[in-house]
């Protein structure tokens, strides 16, 4: 080949083509990355963000009767200004004694439907697939694999406060 200089030109032509192909593909990939990455990051951010859990006031201490389980509403962790009523979360709150409260998530641990408290039977019942829980949140019947999740509650300056938290996901709480 070296003693035949004129055949060099098609080879260098091929080189040039090969280089330009790579250049185009490489730059296209770069363009693609520049266009999509910010958007992907933007969309995925909430997945990895850990919103700070906050305390929300529920009401005055003396509004709650000892031994009663009532439903309460409060703003959830990620309350955007435009969320309106959908920023609200609910919980079942029971005053156990003078100072002690328990709050249960309303999400059934089966597939997340809202459980209802049935006062007379002292049971939480789920409307979806027949999940039933005892008053302490333990599973009484049906498909739920785990007891009802609990919120942290405290009494501060005469107000009952609840700490917001994520939706309890059945098999994968700690993500």
């Amino acid at each position: 080949m070296s003693d035949c200089p004129e055949v060099n030109s098609p080879t260098s032509d091929e080189d040039r083509r090969g280089f330009l192909t790579k250049l185009c593909l490489g730059l296209s990939a770069l363009i693609g990355a520049m266009i999509t990455l910010p958007g992907v990051g933007f969309v995925l951010a909430p997945v990895f963000a850990r919103p700070k859990q906050t305390w929300r006031k529920l009401g005055k201490l003396d509004e709650y009767e000892v031994g009663k389980t009532v439903s309460v509403e409060f703003k959830d962790t990620i309350d955007q200004p435009w969320a309106g009523v959908t920023a609200m979360s609910g919980a079942w709150l029971r005053r156990v004694s003078d100072e002690e409260f328990i709050a249960f998530s309303i999400n059934c641990r089966h597939l997340g439907c809202p459980v209802n408290w049935v006062e007379d039977a002292s049971l939480f019942m789920c409307p979806c697939h027949g999940g039933v829980y005892y008053e302490d949140g333990e599973v009484a019947a049906g498909p739920p694999p785990e007891p009802l999740a609990r919120y942290t509650v405290r009494v501060k300056d005469g107000f009952v406060e609840i700490e917001t938290s994520a939706v309890p996901l059945t098999t994968n709480d700690q993500v």
Partner: protein, 474 residues
């Protein structure tokens, strides 16, 4: 003048040169009414695009206003009722027609050589369409819609390792709220429709490339080595141009379908909006649109150990199973008479769908929170003890799940003649301890209440006259 304009358009756009030959491509003469479902699915999609664009001009995809904007569309906006109805029934039509089209293609084995990719692109389209149906249901953003997101997020959370991330992606954070709706809106109006456009483009291009398959004949198995030649030979002899010789049936069928959609929208109307979407409002009973009921039924009947596998496995296996159909056999017989297994699969699938749908609708596994107290003609007793027992049966929630003479839920065993089966001692044990799928009531009943309930239950026999005092075990 008009002619001139047309000539200019035709010359510059190439309609007569490029598009007409495509439209007039030769199709088998026997492509008759069997073949109208695909084009009707496409037509239903067009209905969805047009009504969807119209709705999007008024609908506000924000957690605070979406519900109100839907109420406005339904009740106040001019023709809003009609457009929303058409979008709803169009979705139903699209799902149904896609499934029917697919069943027909499967029965006729039109997916065999050289049309494997037609089928595969169709399977992808089917799942995108189901995704559209699901996200669309959530955009209704009433209590049902909001709780359905929750259920979807919980299901997604069961994926091993990354489940939590997937469900947080769906919810746009840790809870269902303002950002969730915006996400579903973007998926419903940008991402999935884009995929459908691309998929339909590919699907149509493949039809032009490989031609419409003929009606299967028992003596014409597909032999890839010679198929194309023979197919083209037959077309040359007996084929007809698609436009308008074959196309008229598609148009007639699509016209009927659109008329049905409009008719349903006018006379039945769009689905009623549930209560406003307050996630703190627990009085909701999430229920998907009817074409998902079968799946709901499956989920409700499964033993808990299998559940996660089915929730995750069924869609994935279903998708893969359908996708690989042409890879399993792309040659050989196409006639249903030579493929009994294929026919059996279709019959089995259709039966299962119907049975599970009915079952899903009746939802006997769910406690019935709305039960009324037992009426006196069912209680049939003047004894205040027994009467109170009957009242307790409802108050303590027994009737939510158990049925007495037609009153109550169906989740647990019927109690109409329980007195024949169990004696006092057995009843007490059941109620106190619970059992498989029944809570124990030991801590929530006083001895007095328990006795009254059991007294009442013991009257539930074939012999209404019998009183608890006559019970031998007493």
């Amino acid at each position: 003048m008009l002619g001139k304009i047309w000539n200019w358009i035709d010359d510059r756009s190439g309609f007569s040169d490029v598009v007409m030959p495509m439209l007039e491509h030769i199709v088998p003469r026997d492509a008759r009414w069997w073949y109208v479902f695909g084009s009707a699915t496409l037509c239903a999609f067009i209905v969805q695009v047009l009504t969807g664009v119209a709705l999007a001009m008024v609908y506000v995809p924000g957690g605070d206003a979406a519900y109100e904007s839907l109420v406005y569309i339904t009740n106040d906006a001019t023709l809003g009722y009609l457009v929303r109805g058409m979008h709803y029934y169009g979705a139903t039509a699209m799902v149904m027609l896609a499934v029917i089209h697919m069943t027909q293609v499967y029965l006729h084995a039109s997916y065999k050589y050289p049309r494997e990719m037609n089928w595969m692109s169709g399977v992808v389209l089917l799942f995108v369409v189901l995704g559209m149906a699901f996200t669309g249901q959530l955009l209704r953003w009433d209590a049902n819609g909001v709780w359905s997101v929750m259920v979807a997020a919980e299901m997604a959370a069961r994926v091993p390792f990354v489940g939590g991330y997937i469900s947080q992606f769906l919810m746009g954070g840790e809870t269902v709220g303002g950002s969730t709706l915006s996400r579903f809106f973007a998926i419903h109006v940008f991402i999935l429709p884009g995929l459908i456009f691309a998929g339909v483009g590919l699907h149509l291009w493949l039809i032009l490339r490989h031609g419409i398959s003929e009606m299967p004949k028992a003596d014409q198995p597909v032999v890839p080595e010679t198929y194309k030649q023979e197919y083209e030979g037959r077309l040359e002899k007996t084929g007809v141009p698609f436009w308008p010789i074959a196309a008229w049936r598609d148009v007639v069928f699509s016209a009927i379908m659109v008329a049905v959609i409009v008719g349903c929208a006018i006379f039945v109307g769009p689905p009623a909006l549930g209560p406003a979407p307050n996630p703190a409002n627990i009085h909701a009973n999430p229920m998907p649109d009817w074409y998902f009921w079968w799946y709901f039924a499956v989920l409700s009947m499964l033993p808990p150990e299998l559940e996660t596998y089915v929730i995750l496995g069924m869609p994935v296996l279903g998708a893969i199973g359908l996708f690989v159909v042409p890879m399993l056999s792309n040659r050989g017989h196409r006639a249903p008479s030579k493929r009994p297994w294929a026919v059996a699969v279709v019959i089995f699938g259709a039966t299962a769908f119907v049975v599970l749908t009915i079952y899903g609708y009746q939802k006997p596994w769910s406690p019935d929170f709305d039960v009324k107290p037992l009426p006196p003609e069912v209680v049939r007793s003047d004894d205040p003890n027994i009467q109170h027992g009957a009242v307790l049966l409802r108050d303590k929630g027994c009737l939510y799940c158990h049925n007495v003479d037609g009153f109550g839920g169906y989740r647990g065993p019927e109690l109409s003649v329980i007195g024949n089966r169990l004696d006092r001692g057995e009843l007490v044990i059941r109620i106190n301890n619970g059992g498989y799928n029944m809570p124990s009531f030991a801590s929530s009943l006083t001895a007095e209440e328990l006795r009254q309930m059991v007294d009442f239950l013991l009257t539930r026999t074939d012999h209404p006259k019998q009183t608890p005092g006559e019970d031998p075990s007493n």
